[in-house]
Amino acid sequence: MSNFEYIDAYTEGQLGIIVLNRPKVLNAINRKMVSEILSAMEEFEVDDRIRVIHISGNGRAFAAGADIDEMANDHAIDFELRNQFKDWDQLAMIKKPIIGSVQGFALGGGFELALCCDLLYASDDAEFGFPEVNLGVMPGAGGTQRLTKLVGKMKAMEWLFTGKIISAKESLQFGIVNQLFAKEILQEETMKIATYIAGQAPLSIRLIKESVNKAVDTSIEEGMQFERKNFYLLFSSEDQKEGMKAFQEKRKPIFKGK
């Protein structure tokens, strides 16, 4: 694994682990951190041993926002020429499943990063929110888009207009997170879930992720065709043969991801 400055990245069995690691500033996200997250994910993406990516924050927060100092003096053209969010766009291209584990704050850019996950778990005292409006700006890394697609227009508008904190309970109620755990055992429980998903047929997981994401933005007709092609495609895999054979022989399948 590469050496990173703002994150820790390592493998544990079939899991690729990423830990945001600037605990003194509640893991405030700067450009280098995003680029490191992307590099780590791209390394996991091509590593055959890795089946699931798990991301969490070191310390009291997942990530309390973007690094304000880094951008306070930026101008519009700086962002344009730098292509500020190109790494964020690449995060959405990762094909392996990403599981997020949010303890404490996931605010602003931290919330946007959490929304990039395919499954999201949080501590029962976690707090989400987009406080950008209080600084005279707005989310720029997908916040207005991903939140709206997740919870609908009305709640998204309310939370983005007010900058109000979304409690863990509300986040569960509105489908932002899959499940809440006591903070003491959040990490342990999400690792169990990640390990479970890692035991599923990898090609199924891969094409399910692709198909579900397709459903967000395409017409139902187009989505159905897309799903069908992926369904057909799995019948060219060894895992499909093994899975169905094991079912008939009443034993547990052994999936190889081939």
């Binding site: 755990f181 006591a182 003491e184 055992i185 342990e188 429980e189």
Partner: protein
């Protein structure tokens, strides 16, 4: 640091004393804020394993200071800004909180006592749902906690009739952990608080959390909370000490970890 309350730590117990005896410890914006801050401070302090809230002088707390109530006051905003944060801080506190009700607890003063985990009552203590006498509604969590403690029918009687409830009547209703005679008041409160402060603090916090969440959960959800809490408690050194001391037939020494 505080002006309207006293904040002292003795033997792992944080003593929070409402300290406006000349006003029967009535609530003002400042005392609301200081009670909230002191609860937060005690919650965060690893040395503290139990909190006691009590009143200086002859009253526990007589509720909102009516001197500050103006005709154009927005009562809703006062609650949202001053009282509700105080009640939420108590609700979030994972350590045991005792209301040592030394005298009258009226109006929001009663609400404060209801939001605590234990109510120790001096035989001179009393509760009054004073709100109705000025045409108002019990607030600051009063109507949330009261029916859970004594049932709907009795809660309604107290809230609507606004009669003074003596310490012994309160005990019969289930509002008191214990009524303590005047001459043993300080001693018994101290012994009780220090007993709680020497217990497995993490497990107490989890018991509080799960009891409170049980009000809103199905059995299935509650069973999952049990599993999570037991996993956490099972990792504490107090659990290991408890089992070990049982095997060794001696008294356990819990460190709250």
């Amino acid at each position: 640091m505080f002006e309207t309350i006293k904040y002292e730590i003795r033997k792992s117990v944080a003593w929070i004393t409402l300290n406006r005896p000349e006003k029967l410890n009535a609530f003002t914006e400042q005392i609301n804020r200081e009670v909230q801050q002191s609860i937060k401070k005690a919650s965060k302090d690893p040395e503290v394993r139990c909190l006691v809230i009590t009143g200086e002088g002859r009253a526990f707390c007589s509720g909102q200071d009516l001197d500050g109530v103006l005709e154009d006051m927005d009562h809703g905003e006062v609650l949202r800004n001053h009282y509700n944060p105080m009640v939420m801080e108590l609700h979030k506190c994972e350590k045991p909180v005792i209301a040592a009700v030394n005298g009258v607890a009226a109006g929001a003063g009663m609400s404060l006592a209801l939001a605590c985990d234990f109510r120790l009552l001096s035989e001179k203590a009393s509760f009054i749902e004073a709100f109705i006498h000025v045409g108002l509604v019990p607030d600051a969590g009063n109507l949330y906690y009261l029916p859970k403690l004594i049932g709907y029918a009795k809660a309604l009687e107290l809230a609507v009739l606004g009669d003074k409830i003596s310490a012994y009547d309160a005990e019969n209703l289930g509002l008191a952990t214990k009524v303590i005679p005047l001459e043993r008041w300080t001693e018994e409160v101290t012994v009780f608080a220090e007993r709680l402060a020497s217990m497995p603090t993490v497990a107490i916090g989890l018991i509080k959390k799960n009891l409170k969440s049980s009000w809103n959960l199905t059995l299935e959800e509650s069973l999952e909370k049990d599993a999570q809490a037991q996993r956490i408690a099972g990792l504490t050194s107090d659990h290991i000490e408890g089992v070990k001391s049982f095997m060794e037939k001696r008294k356990p020494v819990f460190l709250g970890k």
